[in-house]
């Protein structure tokens, strides 16, 4: 039994490290885009004055000077894909952090006080959670308008119920621990018990949700941009570039859609590896703590 556990632990460890590596690499790409991108994100930078493929404007297949080819406006796809990391990470960070900032305190409160308040909040959150996230986000995005910040807020709506759920459930079990009861009998105020004694022990479950919701947030944000509700041209964004590239796909210009999609996949695979790896690492820890 023990060696099996060890083996699982290491697999989870490897997954987490790969995931973390990918995330860090993408953060570096986003931060260093101005230095490492060979061309600016916006504006024609193809050397082809007469495009080899007149059907899709100034697009050209991958070559030595343009590793991932150029798009219909003659913009270097490789550079746009690197710059696009900025947009995606920005939207993801806003969405996920805001969801945590709302979902965590509400979940903590709901789980701690219990009773009918808890039931009411739970019902609302569960109903919202049952609805297709992308549709809800599309609705909010349409009302708020385009731009990274607004899209960040729009996708927050999807993840608040998720953070709420996890926090609430964890609070419910931590609330019954002996040390919390001890604090209560010593006369600690509810506020102190919630934030000093319970919050820290609930926080341990958050990294897993953080990574998994971040992966989903990247996909949702890309989806919104693809639908034309997210980011506005000429801002480099993977989902948006894909929707532009789609028009030229039937002319055989595969590179303008292939590479932005590949970036989304690598980043989301990385984040879900991180999430699932952490889950395997943290869950046994939690169980051991319980025993």
């Amino acid at each position: 039994m023990l060696p099996m556990l060890e083996k699982r632990r290491t697999l989870a460890g490897v997954m987490s490290w790969i995931g973390l590596g990918i995330l860090v690499a993408f953060i570096l790409i986003a931060v260093l885009a101005p230095i490492i991108a060979p061309y600016p994100a916006v504006g024609p930078n193809s050397q082809f004055l007469t495009p080899p493929n007149p059907l899709c404007g100034a697009c050209a297949p991958p070559s030595f000077s343009h590793w991932m080819g150029t798009d219909n406006l003659g913009q270097d796809v490789f550079s746009r894909v690197l710059w696009g990391a900025q947009t995606s990470l920005e939207v993801m960070a806003i969405g996920v952090i805001l969801a945590l900032a709302v979902g965590f305190p509400v979940g903590l409160y709901s789980g701690y006080v219990g009773g009918s308040i808890d039931k009411a909040i739970l019902l609302v959150m569960d109903s919202v959670y049952a609805f297709p996230g992308l549709l809800l986000a599309a609705l909010v995005a349409a009302m708020l308008g385009k731009g990274p910040f607004n899209i960040g807020i729009a996708i927050t709506v999807i993840y608040i119920p998720l953070y709420y759920r996890v926090t609430r459930n964890q609070t419910l079990s931590v609330r019954e621990e002996t040390y919390v009861e001890a604090a209560r009998s010593l006369g600690a105020k509810p506020w102190t018990i919630m934030w000093v004694y319970i919050a820290y022990n609930v926080l341990i479950t958050i990294p897993v949700i953080f990574a998994l919701s971040a992966a989903d947030a990247i996909l949702t944000a890309a989806g919104l941009s693809y639908l034309g509700l997210g980011i506005q041209l000429p801002t480099p964004d993977w989902g948006l570039d894909l929707s532009v590239a789609q028009q030229f796909l039937t002319d055989g210009a595969w590179w303008t859609s292939f590479f932005p999609g590949l970036m989304i996949i690598i980043l989301t695979v990385g984040l879900s590896f991180l999430g699932e790896g952490l889950n395997d690492l943290i869950n046994p820890l939690l169980k051991k703590g319980r025993a």
Binding site: L123, A130, V140, L219, Y226, G239, S257
Partner: protein, 343 residues
């Protein structure tokens, strides 16, 4: 007799519980549409229309009334089946119900097709993975389950289009039907069913050829969840006491797998099916855009673009109804299959 009664009671309880859920969803939609900054009339006409026209239209839509009054009207209208009239450029003047009636079959056809693809592929991968636990096949299967799930559905759609439609020319690139032939007469609105009802096998083949790529795209992405669930459940049932007991009685391993382990591993799939519908609808919006599929998802995005307020509201409400309905059906179905659920 008492068993039958308890199932009925269970179903009724679920139905009653679904009502607040529906009401909350409708309230959320109302809140998003009215209280978040952004005025539909202003968005529709910009600064171009004179103030008197804008005011008249606001009055006509009841947007000049207090929120609570608008809310009551909104709820009453929904439950009396009056969703209003479209304002937008495409469907202006048509009733929202009529427009949705035209678009819903396309989405239903796409959804059913995708679910068939997703469950067939997902369950197969899950079972093969589970039987060969920790072997290479299993690792490949698990990797498939994890990665297919995070592939953007629109990207997968574009790549499949590129391969099967543009390069190989095996299947049509997009849309629901060939331009050169006219679709079967509308009975259900589902082209596959209608062409069969009309006895036209040629039209049925055209419809299936058009369905193939969108359903494959959406089905592949959704299959990951099935694969994971089935594998996890199979691992649980393989080690269950009743399987051990069957083994001890000397029943052949094949029979044990098919008659004992598989059967019980597949029960939770129904729950997954229910959960997947929310993801399915989100995916359908994207897939419909990729494949120029004239369904509810496209309708929603088109009406959001032109800020066609009643149409946005109507589409979202229909989605909410379907989701609540499916969640009830799934709960009742699992109650029928697994009586333990009812208590």
């Amino acid at each position: 007799m008492p068993r039958r009664g308890s199932l009925l009671a269970y179903g009724l309880t679920r139905l009653i519980l679904a009502f607040p859920m529906l009401l909350i969803l409708l309230t959320v939609v109302f809140t998003v549409l009215r209280i978040i900054p952004g005025d539909p009339i202003y968005a529709l006409y910009g600064g171009r229309a004179p103030l008197s026209v804008i005011m008249a239209l606001r009055h006509q839509l009841g947007l000049d009334k207090p929120y609570w009054q608008q809310y009551v009207t909104y709820i009453v209208q929904i439950f009396t089946g009056n969703f209003g009239v479209s304002l937008g450029a495409h469907y202006g003047g048509q009733s929202v119900i009529a427009v949705i009636d035209q678009k819903l079959p396309a989405t239903i056809e796409l959804s059913i097709g995708s679910m068939i693809v997703a469950s067939t592929i997902g369950i197969s991968v899950g079972l093969i993975s589970g039987i060969n636990r920790d072997k290479v096949v299993d690792v490949v299967g698990r990797l498939y389950g994890t990665t297919i799930f995070v592939i953007p559905v629109f990207w997968l759609g574009l790549m499949l289009q590129l391969l099967f439609a543009v390069d190989l020319r095996w299947l049509p690139v997009n849309s629901r039907f060939d331009i050169s032939s006219s679709p079967p007469a509308t009975i259900t609105g589902l082209y596959t069913i209608d062409s069969l009802l009309a006895g036209r096998l040629d039209l049925f083949i055209i419809a299936i050829r058009h369905l193939a790529l969108p359903c494959l795209t959406l089905g592949l992405v959704l299959s990951g969840f099935f694969a994971k669930t089935v594998r996890a459940n199979l691992l649980r049932t393989i080690n269950a006491d009743y399987v051990e007991a069957a083994r001890a009685r000397g029943i052949k391993e094949r029979t044990i797998m098919s008659r004992y382990a598989f059967k019980n591993a597949l029960i939770p799939v129904i729950t997954v099916l229910g959960l997947e519908f929310a993801i399915l609808f989100a995916g359908a919006v994207l897939t419909e855009t990729t494949f120029n599929w004239d369904g509810m998802g496209r309708l929603l995005i088109d009406s959001i673009e032109v800020q066609d307020y009643p149409l946005i509201q109507g589409t979202i409400i229909v989605f909410s109804f379907i989701i609540v309905l499916i969640s009830i059906l799934v709960d009742i179905l699992s109650g029928v299959i697994d009586p333990r659920v009812r208590y």
